[in-house]
Structure formats: structure tokens, C-alpha cells
Amino acid sequence: MASPSDESFVEFVRDASPQLLRTAWFVCGDPVQAEELVQAALERVYVRWRRIDHGAATAYARKVVLNHHIDTRRRRSREVLTDRTPERAAAEHDVEDTDALVRALATLAPRERQVVVLRHYVDLSEHEVADTLGVGLGTVKSSASRGLAKLRELLVPEGENHA
């Protein structure tokens, strides 16, 4: 039988995982890697489950996901497993806008991507983004500015850029 603590954790995973998965996907651009990032992050959350504030667990899990994403990128020089072709004409799930958004996000530097996703998908304030990523407020502002500028070039139809 699962303990009450474990039952609350399972409930937390059910509630928090959809947004965590989408956040991870926007950041890494790969659904399989997103699942792995979230699974690994939630396992880490479980280790601290009895000690952390359950009300802040989602924020903590999000922070772990993003840190784990950076760590994963740093290990890229090592042999990695892949089950996807690096090029895809049209994935089954894709619609045009999603494709464009994810492709555009992929052109951003990792930190810019994280900031933009946290600000405009997760709807965190600049202070919350800074806290989540462990960076200064100035870094958040500059990363957001650069990231949005790049996205504007890529996503806003020509003619609307300077409106």
C-alpha cells in the first residue's frame, strides 16, 4: 500500500505534469526528451517530497526541469541515444503554428528560450523567472528582450513588424 505521502505525490504528479511537459517541450523541442526531463525532475522532487512545501512543489519541479535541461545540453558531446530522425518534413502532431513556434524557439539561445517560455507560457513575473533560473533580474530582462526580438522576426508576418 502506498503511504499518504506517496498518494499525495502521485496526485501532485497528475496535476503538475501536463504543464511541466509542455514547458519542457517548448524548451527542448523534443517530446521524448521532454518526457525524460520531466520524469527525471519529478523523481528528484519525490526525494525531497517530505521536506518541501507542497504548495511550491510545481515551481521547484519546474526549476529542476530547466536545470536538468541545461545539464543535458552540457553532456551532448558524450554518446547519446536518439530515436528520431534529425529532420522531419511534417510530424504527425504538428500544425503550422506549432511548427513555426517550436522552430523559432529553437533558434534562441537556451537561456533566452527558458526566459521567454517562463514569461509568456508559464506567465511568471520577471522576478519569479529570475528566481527560477537563478539569474539576476537584468539577465532576465535582456534575455527576454533579445528572445522576443528574434521571435518577432520569425513569427510576426511581414508588414506587422513595425506596426
Partner: protein, 344 residues
Amino acid sequence: MPDEIGTLFHQASTPTMSVDPYAVLAGGRRRRQRRRLVAVAGTAAATLVLGVGAWTALSDSTGDEQTLPAATPSASVSLPEAVAEVSLGVIPQTDRTQPLVAAVAVDEDSGRLGFALRTEDGAALASRSVFVGRTERARFATLVPGVTAAVLPAGVTAAVPVWARGQTPQGSAATAMPDGRVLVVWWTDGSEKDTFYDVIWTEGDEVLSSHAASLLAIDRDDARFFLAPNGGVIGYLAPPGEDEVVGGGKANIIDQGVVESFPAVWADSPSGSGGTYAVFLPKVEDVELVVTGDAEIRDQTVHDFGEEVGLVVLADVDGSRESVTEVRFTDPEMGPTGGPAAAE
């Protein structure tokens, strides 16, 4: 603009993704237990336990309360019962002088499968579980750098591994699993760190890959290119008509670039200087491959696979591997363009 971006995020149609809460729970428990073990054991012993813990992940089912075995640091660890095992012989890069055994377990519920490597006398060398939930027909994992195993469907008649930068397997071994599927393990000399990219196999007359796409094969004089009709290209070369290809062959995906909305990918042959290049393009006109230095295109042919697949250009180039730097072509709708250099 920020509001527009927010709208795009929230309207985005995301792929199907999920995590199993009970799998997370089980993984968290293992992680917690490993922390405790690491706290009490020495570094070397703890590393061994990590391997055992990872292996246990495979034998655990998900969704039920699980009791982890009390793993004890030991120089000789008995692995849980595996679905299949195969003897590999001596693998150079593992720095072992005695034959090794690869064992595999599959957890169909969680999508994880795992491989363990041990010596014939039972000493564990490494084990790992890997999440490969998107690969339906085949599952593969790199156990330690240079040692990769795949579980392939029953009925497979031949299989080849593909590394992204063309590493060549030094040896292979295969065995049938109790349910009829086939376990294949390939290993290299470990001299080149490379990304394990794909498994290509045959079932009857059909050529398949772990990317879940049937492949088209183009036979040339000394090579066979396999091309995935879902928009991807996997360049793989093997002597035409060769039935027994387990552990053979080689593929080099030299480069890839996205030109507008479609992929342009080329792969070359493993035949030393020069080689055969395949470039996947949409319906285009006036295809021109750009070569560097003294390289020369000896022959060029175009294969048109219809709308679904597009156009494939094959060329024999006399020169170094990197001698083809660009492909230029005219798109009837977009006009002259090129890639991948032009896309950057």
C-alpha cells in the same frame, strides 16, 4: 508582441506526452535509496549499486506498490532474471579480457527497456534503462559507449546499426527472445564517440527502421541507400543482395539543413576517398551539387519518388568526404535557392 507570443504558446497543439505517476514514484524511491546507499558505501561500491538500481528499474512493473530489493554493495552482483541474454565475446573498449554477456529486460508498460553487461562469471559491468516510448516496433539503447543493443520484432531477417557519424561495428551477436523477438547487440572499438542513430532491419521483403518508417532502397553499383518516406533520409550502404547484414555496413550522415520548410540531407558512402552522396529534396528543377577543391562529380542520377517522398539525387564524387559543400537547385515556386549552406 508579448501577448501574441503568449497566445501562440497557449494555442499550440502539443504532441501527446505523459509521465506515469507510479513510474515516477518508483523512480523516486530508487533514487532515494541510491542516495542512502551512496551515503554509506564507498565511491566504487556505490557506482556498482547504481548499476543494479538501474537494472531494477526494468524489472519493476509500474502502477503497483513496489518493494525494492535490498541491494548490497558487492564486487559480484547477480542480475535479476533477464528476458534474453547473448554472449558478446571480448569487447575491447571495456578493458576486459574475458567474454561478456549482455542481458535485456523490457518493461512494456513504461516504455523502458534495459540492458546489462556482465562478465561470464556474473560480475556486473554496467546496466542501464532507457526510455524509448516513441519507438513502437523496435527498441534500442546504448548501454555503454560503443555497445548498443536492440530488440527487434519477430520475423526480422537482417539488421544493421547506424551511427550518425558512421562508426562501424566491430562485432555483433543476436539471439531470439522467448516471445520471438530478436535481441541484437553491436559493439565498436570505442575509438570514436558517436551518436547511435537508428536500426534498420528487414522483415520479409520489407525494409524498416526504428523510426517507424518503411524505407525505400535505391541500389547502386556498390551501395544501397535507404530513404525514409516520412521526410527523413538515412544513408546506409551495403552490398546489394546481401542477405546477412547483421553487424555490417556503415552510414554517414554528413550534414543536414532545413531549406525553407523541407529537409535537405545528404549522406555519403564509406568507401574511402570520394563516395556516393544522396541528397533528399522536394520537387525541384536544375539540381546542382557544389563541390570543393579538386573534387569532381563523376556521375549524378535523380530518383523521383512522387509527392510523398520527393526527389533524391545520387552522385558519385571523386574527392574527400567533405567535398560536397552545397546543393543548389531551382524550386518552381520559390525560385533559385540552395542548402544547407544557403539556409544558414
